[in-house]
């Protein structure tokens, strides 16, 4: 048990150090966020509440696709084989999940700050919204990690990831956009706790399925 935790820790640290040295995903995605938000700003100035919400989650979606696709792209065949000989597959995917969650949380915060600066801040309840953004970032990164792992098996096909990912993503995005509406105006939303439960449940489901199924994916 202790060894497993140590292995996961080492792998996460390796990814983090690699990221800090190369800053490959970070600057790529940063540029992506800023240009998207800036283009929206040029086209429509400061959008109103509902539009702001919709645009923000669309930005989040594409940020997640870009940031997380990269995390598997840089692992070439030889390196994957090397990892396979070192650690059990579950440890490997657990480390990837944790790293991607950390990366995506950072990206979410950056996306939020960019949106505030370029698109204005229509939020009524900022703390609540930040919480949802972090939760949403976690959910998105978990699911896209799995999809990236699948796409990595299918010759790193990025288009395939979009095709597989967007339908799977839609229920989560719908839930997120719904729960975040409360941050804009004080409205009464029946079933709000239930939606949070469902989101958490989906996250748990994704983690559980990944842990069970990833060893099958890796057997090559």
């Amino acid at each position: 048990m202790k060894q497993t935790v140590h292995q996961i820790y080492t792998l996460v640290r390796k990814d983090l150090v690699l990221e800090l040295r190369q800053q490959y995903a970070f600057y790529g995605v940063l540029l992506y966020i800023i240009s998207t938000v800036f283009v929206i700003n040029l086209m429509m100035g400061k959008p109103d509440d509902k539009l702001w919400n919709a645009l923000f989650w669309v930005i989040q979606l594409f940020v997640a696709v870009n940031a997380i696709a990269k995390s598997f792209m840089q692992e070439n065949r030889g390196r994957l084989l090397y990892f396979y000989s070192l650690v059990p597959p579950r440890v490997f995917i657990a480390a990837k999940l944790i790293f991607n969650v950390i990366l995506m949380m950072l990206m979410s915060i950056i996306a939020l700050v960019c949106s505030f600066t370029f698109l204005g801040n229509p939020l009524h309840n900022t703390g609540y919204f930040v919480g949802i953004v972090l939760l949403g970032g976690t959910s998105l990164s978990l699911l896209f990690t799995v999809l990236a792992a699948i796409a990595a098996q299918a010759n790193h096909n990025a288009a395939l990831m979009a095709v597989m990912g967007f339908p799977l993503m839609m229920p989560m995005l719908m839930l997120l956009a719904n729960v975040s509406l409360s941050a804009f105006v004080t409205v009464y939303q029946p079933g709000l706790p239930k939606m949070f439960l469902l989101l958490g449940g989906m996250d748990l489901l994704t983690i559980a399925l990944t842990m069970v199924l990833f060893p099958f994916l890796w057997k090559d």
Binding site: Q153, A154, N157, L160, V163, P167, L168, L175, L198, F216
Partner: protein, 220 residues
């Protein structure tokens, strides 16, 4: 001959369902008018879809435990037939919605969620096309199929029950359930369930046989 009695039964039942479905007297309620007859075609489509998707996911699980390629043929054929019936169910539902809800594609949660569920299975089929190695395709698509099924349940069972929908059965509308369905309609509805399900199984067996012929070099 003894093995084919159920095919004859399917044909007889469906002839009965189609003739009786369009001719029996049904209660005319409000805007529903004659459109309630869609019930005999719409609901069975979903039952067929669920049957097929269940067959598909069970076979995917079995494939992952035994690595028998036949299981993959079963799983993919069932998913194909299931997606086909899903589209039919969506089409009949939309047709009904056109005349009762006042729009073919509304923003009703039930309609959106089922559309997403069907899209997920389309993604499964696209994923299958994009991988050329047979064993790899079987393994990866089995993993994705399990994910798809795990999302199908919250999408079509849990989320639509949490939010208000125009669909019969949610909120305060009568649900065409056993308690509030007219006796005459039940006489057609229950045979329709059996008939359409048998038909879907029939199509599925045909597809399996065709695929086995395609791969007969492998199966011997």
């Amino acid at each position: 001959m003894a093995r084919h009695w159920w095919k004859a039964l399917a044909i007889l039942l469906l002839i009965y369902v189609i003739i009786a479905g369009f001719t029996i007297k049904i209660p005319i309620i409000g805007t529903n008018g004659q459109s309630s007859r869609g019930l005999f075609f719409h609901v069975p489509m979903w039952i067929c879809m669920y049957t097929m998707f269940t067959i598909s996911v069970v076979n995917s699980l079995l494939y992952l435990s035994k690595y028998d390629l036949k299981r993959d043929v079963y799983a993919s054929s069932a998913a194909r037939v299931g997606a086909f019936f899903g589209v039919l169910g969506f089409a009949t539902g939309s047709l009904w919605a056109t005349y009762t809800w006042g729009g073919t594609l509304t923003d009703d949660p039930k309609q959106i969620c089922t559309a997403i569920a069907i899209l997920i299975y389309m993604a499964y089929l696209v994923l299958r096309i994009s991988i050329h190695d047979i064993d790899k395709r079987a393994r990866i698509s089995a993993v994705f199929n399990i994910f798809a099924f795990a999302l199908l349940i919250p999408l079509t069972y849990i989320i639509p029950r949490m939010v208000d929908s125009l669909h019969p059965g949610s909120a305060s509308t009568p649900g065409f359930a056993s308690k509030d369905t007219d006796g005459g309609m039940k006489l057609v509805l229950y045979p329709a369930f059996i008939g359409w399900t048998l038909l879907s199984v029939w199509i599925y067996t045909l597809l399996v046989r065709y695929k086995k012929l395609e791969l007969k070099n492998i199966f011997k």
